[in-house]
Symmetry: C2
Subunit: 385 residues, 2 copies
């Protein structure tokens, strides 16, 4: 994990689950395959940590040294023989069975500190954590855990969201069950992460539900999800509940809008078709867009976006039609229509809305933001907003 | 960075750049906002590290404590006043200017150890590292750096690639300029990472070029890239060099194939159009697929995939036509055609190839692997393989 290629995801899972049972994570550490260094670091952490969780380094290969470092540290044992490595257990350790792999986990105790050694592969580590470690941790926790809720917001800037939300969430840190709030700007959306420290999930749910409702009042319909659903899933649920079908005509998004809609399981119930018209000829042939309309307004224009949405709607006999045309870059921009200019039209049962956006970023960023904006326009129109 | 939401990417960049100038990374550490704990950890690392690089914690807010921990450790200074924080510099430290933000970096030395404090935002950290830190590190390095090459392979399993490549790369660890090889299985592709420790980039290039050629001999045309290019970029370059255009007809990939093709800058030169036929009616209307063909073979069949590819090719007047039809899941599978069954046809100037794949994984994984397989079939046909 010390190469530039590997992103650590095990620790994200472990942090979330530990937080939920009331254990703060003070330190994360990524060590190389050096028994001495690892033993020294463990020694330091034993001075203050109640719990040390380690993943990886339990396999039979010669660079799997976690067990050796622990053994050296806690028992003064010498290095086990290589060919017996996986069968060796430091004295006093409990073996945690691994139904999904060959390397078992280990549970050791040293004074007040518990050391938990888990296998590295996530598909082995996660089931072991859930099935065994959570129960073993229970007597060591106060019962007060961290519980989270994420609000996802689109169509507003980070500073706008923060200026609106801060007067609300600023007061939550002082209440009986305090809530900490973090704002996170991701491409095409803003996330508000609420973290409550509460004695139980039901206590946390009560304050978090109230907090989410308060934020909803001031942020309005820019909040598209409070339960982890993606924007495409929210749009899909709205389409399904109305028994609507959707058809999309894309230029600059190049199929990304259709692809995101069809990422949702069950989307074949409401996605009828999509066309990607990358050439003007394709716009004319697939959608019957008049050449004179393109000549008069330009391919990137609200007039063409609307004509695309209306054409795909009529052709598919769908309830919702979307047209997206723009300049994803890096080439193709002009002073009047720079890179990032995107016109989007949504037609729902005869009602049409058209907007022009100016997105910032590289080609893939423009594509993503344009698909996001189109999905959001559909969402708002279906909500009657 | 101790929440479950944030993935550490700064350390990947820093590791790669340090490796290139010959500095091994022995330990990565993610600490919370606790001055005492951070100072204690720094103390431990001072015992053995030649270089300590820290990012973040240099801003004016009260939780930016990296500077305070360093000052306390190295100089016995007391905590600076909050409102003067960003202007305060531990005695003896060099200030590293930050043209992209307000918090400057710091360079401190303690015995043989250099401590480098960099701002947290990547768009401030990276330019500072490149413009200042690399030069300052030069006199501290031996000149022997780690240099890397990545081979990307698709259409073969990890165990097959390893069985073929291991006899080759197994010999490289013993040569004058040794190369370490790591195999990494990512969705839809296998990567071979070659790392050479060499005195200079030119020395590394020589051994790495020879190594890549050796692997290319045994792995053949399953290697699609040795220079970091994505599969869609490789396909795009082949289309461009032949002055070919491409048109795609997708069912289960839902627009992902068109979207990946259009992720490549300049792809409007060769992508003509795409259609996403999610309903059978759309297949019939957009592509003129005969209802009897669907009834006879099923929508997911080689016959329908080929008819889709031929129809979109003819309609667009393109040189390359692709048809993809399959079952992305989670629903829709049958005993004969389980979830993950995908038929793909590629037609190039009258020459057609059709294959049926059986992919494993959830909906998005099946979509990705199907798009990957379709791109790879196009690549191989354009290469005349």
């Amino acid at each position: 994990m010390l190469t530039p290629f590997r992103v650590d995801t095990n620790s994200l899972f472990i942090t979330e689950r530990l937080n939920e049972v009331g254990i703060d994570v003070r330190l994360k550490l990524v060590a190389g395959d050096d028994v001495e260094a690892l033993a020294e670091l463990l020694q330091t952490a034993l001075g203050w940590a109640d719990l040390i969780v380690m993943t990886g380094g339990l396999g039979p290969t010669e660079d799997d040294i976690t067990r050796a470092a622990n053994a050296r540290l806690l028992r003064g044992m010498t290095m086990p023989q290589i060919n017996r490595r996986q069968a060796l257990v430091p004295r006093g350790a409990d073996v945690l069975p691994n139904p999904n792999g060959t390397a078992p986990g280990l549970w050791l105790e040293h004074g007040r500190t518990a050391l938990v050694l888990l296998p590295g592969p996530p598909r082995e580590m996660k089931p072991m954590f859930e099935a065994i470690v959570v129960d073993r941790l229970a007597p060591r926790t106060s019962g007060a855990g961290l519980f989270r809720r994420v609000l996802r917001i689109t169509g507003r800037t980070e500073s706008d969201v923060d200026a609106t939300a801060q007067p609300i969430y600023g007061a939550w840190t002082a209440q009986a069950v305090p809530i900490a709030t973090t704002i996170l700007a991701v491409l095409g959306q803003i996330e508000l992460h609420l973290t409550a420290r509460a004695a139980s999930r039901s206590e946390a749910d009560a304050v978090l539900d109230a907090a989410v409702a308060e934020l909803g009042d001031v942020l309005g319909d820019s909040v598209y999800s409070t339960d982890g659903r993606s924007l495409e899933a929210v749009v899909g649920d709205a389409l399904r509940s109305k028994r609507f079908t959707i058809a999309v005509a894309e230029s600059c998004t190049g199929g990304l809008l259709a692809s995101r809609l069809t990422d949702v399981p069950g989307s074949s119930a409401y996605v009828d078709r999509g066309v990607v018209c990358y050439s003007n000829r394709a716009k004319i042939e697939l959608l019957g867009i008049a050449e004179t309309l393109i000549a008069e307004h330009g391919a990137v224009s609200e007039a063409v976006a609307r004509a695309m949405a209306e054409a795909i709607l009529a052709q598919a006999g769908a309830n919702v039609g979307v047209g997206v045309t723009g300049i994803a870059g890096p080439g193709g921009g002009t002073p009047q229509k720079p890179v990032g200019t995107v016109a989007i039209a949504v037609v729902v049962d005869g009602d049409a809305r058209v907007r022009t956006f100016q997105f910032v970023g590289g080609r893939e960023q423009v594509k993503f933001q344009a698909a996001q904006a189109a999905l959001n326009m559909v969402r708002l129109m279906l909500a009657g907003g």
